[in-house]
Symmetry: C2
Subunit: 376 residues, 2 copies
């Protein structure tokens, strides 16, 4: 066998996703030579000789054919479709004794991975609140409308809301799984996953048929973080998979963002810790995320401002007089003049103008602010 | 007249609180010489000669007597009760053409200003939500229980909740007003203010009888910020007095803290902007505030952790096996052994132990995680 894609497929079936040793040997020796040596029974750096027997049982060409019949393709580094964003994994520090680029990815769906537009990961708690799922859906819809692909993990709660929000925003969305892309985990999300496979992409390091394990979720999280320009955590309890994805994003030097929530809500606690510690930037809407994940200057956030109020349009003298008018107990013009440090004649002229604008009112005992003018 | 306290009182009645020119001249020339020169009709740096006539009408000794009958005292720099924390105002940049230490403070209540224990300002929106007032009260009660005095402005909404929370926590609390301390503004808070005057302190730069104006609220905010070691903003619309207090705290190089809320809630928007821009640190509870406002090491926050779970107590081999067990579809021990990279005999022993701990279950077709074990 000499085909890079087949060699990578066979090797990927030998180990668990994210395994450092195998990935390291592939990048050092090349997939094809490594595969050939192992099949020939060579004992390589502690890889047991028994792998030869296991490799003999693996039929990558048959796996590819079977997958193709299910509409699933196998993509490897060097392919046109390979997302270059994943390369950064080779330089990032390992987490949980895992790391490095996948040997390859199984993909189901029309969306091609090298064409993901400005992808952003939106992840969070499975046991999310309705606040969390509403916010995740709204945020993802906003990202989608702005042309960003939304990457998530198809789990209950925030993940599901992220995918659905992106679809509601007529946008692109990608699910990265910890099991084969032909499987539905959780089973309740079968229709969602089928829909994503029809309109977006469902992706996994694991071959079709493989089951999810805890280890595979941790490895999967690194693919979510690495596919995206940045990761947004919407709700996450203190120990949760979403925070693990955030750690991967931080290790990749990609922006980590957190959406705050009520401090009385446990699912927001992990996000608040991320923000408080400086590990994540607080974001409240899609524009904030786009500003942090786009090349400098592409998306500039307009800071929310209160609408201009009548008193913003006043000249300096009128402002000064207005600031000197009492809120409650009316004061005579002489008193206002003293407070404002202006002549009484000036103040009388100003008060007249302010009254016409509805900002002050004249009572028998003097002048005071009108009801509508607050103390700011 | 040669008494510093009387001279300061008379001068304070000449201008508005926070006025830079008068305060600057007092610190340069001294209150008594300045007062004497002005009374003598000297034209000093643009202060009009007419002030002589006005000063002639001011009777500070009579003001002091009247105030004393109302239980109100006048405190000036140099008095034992003068809070040294206010001195930093002389070094801070002016805001709204205001700044500097007050010429003096009127105080009503038994709490002495130089003895405020670890004071923290808790401020926020007048049009607060019940979420905001609940959180402000809870936070302030926690600060009070930890021995901190809570400083606020007695306004509707967050301010009121802060004072009430401190009282509920059996603690000390101080209201700083933008009008005379004998007045109730808002009128609905008369009972609250009377209670604070009986058990804490009500403070103002303005002489008894003076009315609130917009300018006086802005000047008042600098006193709140300067009395406290740090300022917490609980809810604040994009343009609000609470953000003005936060600006004063920042100008004084004191910690500015913000309590987040739902991103769907307008009153939290100003706080989120403060945190997002780095102007405020996110806090969720009294411990966070104490950590940021106490001398280093006095209050170390224990980071919230999820309770230890059974699998945290496992040895390395058992953890490794557990991570290789499928979530849904049972796998035979040989398959688990291959995934875990361990011998089948080892895996069988481990699975047996994990089953007894309730972490995995054995079915006719193999092993899988028990319902209670989530994928983290």
């Amino acid at each position: 066998m000499s085909d890079e894609r087949l060699a990578r497929l066979a090797l990927s079936r030998l180990g668990e996703p994210g395994g450092l040793r195998l990935a390291g040997m592939v990048s050092e020796l090349g997939a094809v030579p490594l595969h050939d040596e192992l099949r020939a029974g060579a004992e390589l750096r502690g890889l047991r000789a028994e792998v030869a027997a296991r490799l003999a049982d693996i039929e990558p060409a048959r796996d590819l054919e079977r997958a193709a019949r299910l509409g699933i393709r196998w993509v490897v580094p060097g392919d046109a479709e390979w997302p270059v964003a994943l390369r950064d994994l080779d330089d990032a520090e390992p987490l949980h004794r895992m790391g490095r680029q996948p040997l390859g990815l199984w993909v189901r769906g029309p969306l091609r991975l090298h064409e993901l537009p400005a992808p952003v990961a939106v992840v969070g708690a499975r046991s999310a609140t309705t606040y969390g799922t509403d916010v995740a859906a709204e945020l993802s819809a906003g990202l989608a409308r702005a042309g960003s692909a939304v990457v998530s993990g198809a789990a209950f709660g925030i993940d599901q809301a992220a995918h659905r929000g992106a679809l509601a925003g007529d946008g692109l969305t990608v699910a990265v799984l910890a099991c084969g892309v032909d499987r539905a985990y959780p089973a309740a999300h079968k229709r969602l996953l089928d829909h994503l496979a029809d309109h977006g992409a469902v992706v996994s390091e694991l071959a079709p048929g493989c089951a999810p394990t805890r280890l595979r979720f941790l490895a999967r999280n690194r693919v979510i973080a690495a596919l995206a320009r940045g990761t947004v955590v919407v709700e996450a309890a203190v120990r949760s998979g979403a925070l693990n994805t955030a750690s991967w994003a931080a290790g990749l030097n990609r922006p980590v963002m957190g959406v705050p929530g009520p401090v009385t809500s446990a699912p927001s606690e992990g996000v608040h810790q991320l923000i408080r510690s400086g590990a994540a930037t607080l974001v409240t809407r899609a524009e904030d995320v786009l500003e942090l994940t786009s090349p400098a200057g592409h998306h500039l956030v307009e800071v929310a401002r209160a609408p201009a109020r009548p008193r913003d349009l006043l000249g300096r003298r009128d402002q000064r007089v207005l600031e000197a008018v009492p809120l409650v107990r009316p004061a005579p013009p002489e008193s206002v003049a003293r407070t404002a440090g202006l002549a009484v004649t000036e103040v009388l002229a100003a008060l007249d103008g302010l009254r016409r604008r509805g900002l002050v009112e004249e009572l028998p005992t003097g002048w005071r602010l009108a009801e509508s003018a607050d103390e700011g």
